[in-house]
Symmetry: C2
Subunit: 261 residues, 2 copies
């Protein structure tokens, strides 16, 4: 039989395509988890960083200074891939479910404590621009970001905050921010959609240099002395939740970017 050179050539190219491209496709699929990073495979770095993040969230890591540089890309994936938001959502849902079981007295003394940074307001934009916590804390630079007052709220914390208000809880905000930052903090919180808190407690002169867990315990203790019942407390740091005058239930929202002693 006769056949055109063109058809033969086109089938040949098509055939060659299969032979050459198929392995390339499959190797691309595999290599994303297999390519080594400083001798470690990407998958082993990723699973170490997952373990590291769990150790941080459970407070097993204790005091730590910066995010391991090899875990920065895992954190990017954690935030940009949406798992951080899902994790935060689940915590907020557990908090609201507990809140619904509390008998509200109606005297305004049934209280819920919230931390501010990384609990009600997100500074992720700042940390994205500053190595996702892999760079040492720069108080001057962070203060410059804070006074811009542009930190957004978390959808899940807004839902929780509003849900608690609707149930009848009195909201107490307890932050490590300085008294000098009160105005901008109030404005930022309002712009982010938070309204109607009873107290916004910031560090005064007498609180300078105090460990966060001591400062926050003392402030909660003052609230208890005023007659508030601290049913719940939400914070991104263990130092927001531990110490004395702790709430009946504490909720640790995720923050694998920095640690405050």
């Amino acid at each position: 039989m006769a056949c055109s050179r063109n058809s033969l050539v086109s089938f040949f190219i098509l055939g060659l395509f299969t032979v050459l491209i198929s392995p390339a496709i499959s190797s691309r699929v595999l290599s994303s988890t297999k390519r080594p990073v400083n001798g470690e495979s990407r998958s082993s770095v990723a699973s170490y960083c997952e373990s590291w993040r769990l150790a941080v969230e459970t407070n097993n890591a204790g005091t730590w200074k910066v995010v391991p540089s090899k875990c920065v890309s895992s954190l990017e994936t954690y935030y940009n891939g949406g798992q951080f938001d899902k994790d935060y959502n689940v915590v907020a849902r557990y908090a609201l479910a507990f809140a619904k079981t509390v008998k509200i007295g109606g005297d305004g003394k049934d209280a819920w404590v919230f931390d501010v940074d990384e609990t009600l307001l997100s500074n992720l934009e700042y940390y994205k621009a500053n190595g996702y916590g892999s760079e040492p804390y720069n108080s001057k630079k962070f203060h410059e970001w804070v006074v811009q007052g542009t930190a957004p709220g978390f959808d899940a914390s807004l839902k929780l905050y509003t849900g608690l208000k609707n149930i009848g809880f009195t909201i107490i905000l307890l932050t490590g921010r300085d008294e000098a930052e009160r105005r901008i903090t109030e404005k930022n919180l309002h712009d982010a959609g938070y309204f109607g808190w009873e107290h916004l407690l910031l560090r005064g002169h007498e609180d300078q240099g105090k460990a966060a867990v001591k400062y926050k315990s003392e402030q909660r203790s003052r609230m208890v002395k005023k007659g508030y019942i601290l049913h719940g407390n939400t914070g991104d740091q263990w130092s927001d939740l531990q110490g004395f005058a702790v709430a009946d239930r504490s909720f640790k929202v995720p923050n694998p970017i920095y640690y405050i002693a």
Copy 2:
């Protein structure tokens, strides 16, 4: 020109292969995460279960009865894929690193407390055969497993235990197991490679029905009254670590299979 029908046919088949198979390959790659499970995509179930596990490990979930049935396959992957072991290893390394900073007095009073089940001994074999914690706790069935005395140790806890002994810590084992299970527990621990503990504290008659956190706090308190300094405490349950007479540092090893109040 002339050409053989065979070569033409073989090229044709080769060409057809590319066109038909390539999409099949890529769709197979995608579908593993996209296939729906009761309306939810596998990936959204997996990320919910990851959030649920984090909420459990951080104690945000509070009291819970069983593993959500939709998370059983995520737990299988967590254990069989090796992430559980990696998570446990990282906690054990943090614990040993802390232990090395403790100044040992040499009077035998520097102590470390260990829980037993899911901390020194793994009952995973039992739970694998019983729905990975998705079935309600069956005390009779679990007791039958316990008295077999075949629970293996965790590599990481064996390393930690031995490391602490070498540093000079006195080991106190504090378990919710019954006094009647002392013999088999001692044998199982020895078979798993644990030796030389100072105390093995089990529930006596007076401890029946006590909440774990109360029972364990009372036992730690007794040890403190005996003059022990509780530098560290390792457990898989928050009720192993909280309450009163808590250790200087507590280490929560992972256990997303069951909760003990």
